[in-house]
């Protein structure tokens, strides 16, 4: 671990990490892939805003309205800078990554009707969708990057296709999944189970050849690696606040401005309009066009504070720290008898998420005993990626996921815990 990165100092910023759990156990939190803990800086920013500066944004013309609006829009600036968005207006705040993915899925195949009742087809060819058109995802997706596209296919009659996954847990790019009929490709930047970081360039290249749009589900990459949306060159990127030290209730859609311009609105209501008559409306420019109603104000502000925190720690340093933790974990877990790793066994193109099974012991039991006896929080089940588990022929895995506040000592505790689990069920 780099000298500049002082994990003990970082840990002090996270109150829960020094908490004593019921029964006197201390907490070993290895479930950040599910949701991360929050530093005091984020909690305090939210508390202060809620207690002393809160009001609705945009529409209010008084001191509190100005303070809230400024803090909310500052958060947009921070998030935009954090992911290298060419324009701050390309950052749309949603309630989570799932809403961001659904927003994009609902943009396709919307047929517009005139008041008279005659069909007024959606004229932008990039966003039409019907029988014969194809949507491409992968077998390693989180349900939030599967179900919205299934629903789109059902609504429009389009066909859903997917990349397979190799035995090593890599995207299988060998077949001819993307075709001339493909309109949108949406894949995870980093798998929330395997830890695999997917290669964006070849997918993007093929998509561009056939004129398809590309969306990245960056829920597991933005929190852990420096991500530059412009450099990636994709069209849409979704991520979520609660996995990157921010609060619940806030997510982000980044998209290229010209696409946000061309997309129909998704949720209708206050703040997303320009003018409203009883029988029709005109819409505000993006990002507001996609932010109907009172937005998650304090949540966006909390996310802004989280971005500040991550930037102060340094995304490169965080990445290096997690890489060291992952190396340690891969080594240590290899020593546990009958442990089967699901996902890449080397550090190459992978992040700090390690999923595995223990022969003869159900992951639910593994997770619960780790928690019961040692206060070790891991996630067990299919981690909202059931098709991936079907692919590997297993109902569930145990998953440990690391973040900037984790230590090699915690990984050692996990390994000791696994040995104990094996004893209990021996």
């Amino acid at each position: 671990m780099s000298a500049a990165f002082d994990v003990e100092r970082i840990r002090k910023d996270f109150p829960v990490l020094s908490r004593e759990l019921p029964g006197g156990r201390s907490l070993v939190y290895l479930d950040s892939g599910n949701s991360s803990q929050k530093p005091a800086q984020v909690v305090e920013t939210m508390r202060e805003h809620l207690a002393m500066h809160y009001s609705n944004v945009g529409r209010a013309m008084h001191v509190l309205g100005a303070e809230s609006t400024q803090a909310y829009e500052d958060a947009r600036d921070k998030v935009a800078a954090f992911v290298g968005a060419p324009s701050r207006d390309e950052v749309v705040f949603t309630k989570n990554a799932s809403e961001a993915l659904n927003l994009v899925a609902y943009s396709f195949g919307q047929r517009f009707w005139r008041a008279s009742g005659t069909t007024q087809p959606n004229e932008d060819p990039r966003f039409t969708m019907g029988p014969g058109d194809e949507i491409v995802i992968s077998e390693m997706e989180h349900h939030s990057n599967i179900v919205p596209w299934q629903m789109l296919a059902q609504r429009t009659g389009a066909t859903l296709k997917w990349f397979g996954v190799t035995d090593e847990g890599r995207l299988d790019l060998s077949g001819d999944v993307i075709t001339e009929r493909t309109k949108i490709v949406s894949i995870a930047h980093q798998s929330n189970v395997l830890g695999t970081v997917n290669p964006v360039a070849p997918v993007l290249k093929r998509a561009r050849e056939v004129g398809a749009l590309v969306m990245l589900d960056a829920s597991q990459s933005v929190p852990h690696h420096p991500v530059d949306v412009a450099a990636l060159g994709v069209d849409f990127v979704a991520f979520t606040g609660h996995k990157m030290l921010g609060p619940s209730g806030i997510g982000v859609l980044w998209a290229r401005g010209e696409l946000l311009e061309a997309m129909p609105p998704f949720l209708g209501g206050g703040e997303m309009i320009e003018a409203v008559w009883m029988d029709h409306s005109t819409y505000a420019p993006y990002p507001h066009k996609f932010e109907a109603g009172t937005p998650p104000i304090v949540e966006a502000i909390g996310l802004g504070a989280a971005v500040d925190y991550l930037q102060a720690a340094g995304m490169e340093a965080i990445e290096a720290h997690e890489r060291a933790l992952t190396a340690h974990a891969l080594d240590a877990l290899a020593e546990v008898p009958s442990l089967r790793l699901i996902g890449p066994s080397t550090l190459e193109e992978r992040g700090g998420t390690v999923a595995f099974t223990l022969e003869g012991i159900h992951p639910h039991d593994v997770g619960q005993i780790l928690d019961d006896e040692f206060g070790i929080a891991v996630r067990v089940g299919h981690h909202c990626a059931r098709p991936l588990h079907l692919r590997f022929g297993i109902p569930a895995t145990t998953r440990a996921s690391f973040y900037l506040y984790n230590t090699t000592g915690e990984i050692d505790a996990l390994v000791r815990g696994l040995h104990h689990v094996q004893k209990v069920f021996a």
Binding site: P22, G23, H362, P363, Q368, H389, P395, V424
Partner: protein
């Protein structure tokens, strides 16, 4: 879990030494239940006696210790009791499991099944505990008709 382990000795005991496991003949009804969320499965058979009592509950399945132990405890609590009695035990067990840790278990009704009280705090585990019990209820309804 919030101070008390979900893994009561009794649960582990039932898991390691399941009572009445295995599918037996004769039977009046057989059901197969699956928990699609976690993949747990159970096949369960019920044989009614002439006296309105449950003569046998036999079962086979796979899943975590909670779901397996729950089936074993179910077997113990139901075999030899009247259908009506067992259904009130099922109801009480369901109430306990769905109470999100805020329901007091009635030990007189539940017997050994109170060991599952700690499970109620984990929505994701509640289904594991209930799998065999729901299958039983289903099988009883079918065998009666």
């Amino acid at each position: 879990m919030i101070g008390e382990s979900m893994y009561q000795e009794l649960i582990l005991e039932h898991y390691k030494h399941p009572q009445g496991r295995g599918l037996r003949e004769p039977y009046d009804a057989e059901v197969h239940h699956v928990n699609p969320t976690c993949g747990d499965e159970i096949t369960l058979r019920v044989k009614l006696g002439d006296d309105g009592k449950i003569e046998d509950v036999s079962y086979d399945g796979q899943g975590c210790s909670i779901s397996q132990a729950a089936a074993s405890v179910l077997h113990e609590l139901t075999t030899g009791s009247t259908v009506t009695e067992t259904l009130s035990v099922v109801d009480e067990f369901t109430r306990l499991m769905q109470g999100r840790g805020q329901v007091e278990a009635d030990e007189d009704v539940l017997g050994d099944a109170v060991a599952f009280a700690g499970v109620a705090k984990f929505p994701a585990r509640v289904k594991c505990a209930l799998l065999s019990w729901m299958a039983y209820k289903d099988a009883v309804v079918r065998s009666a008709s």
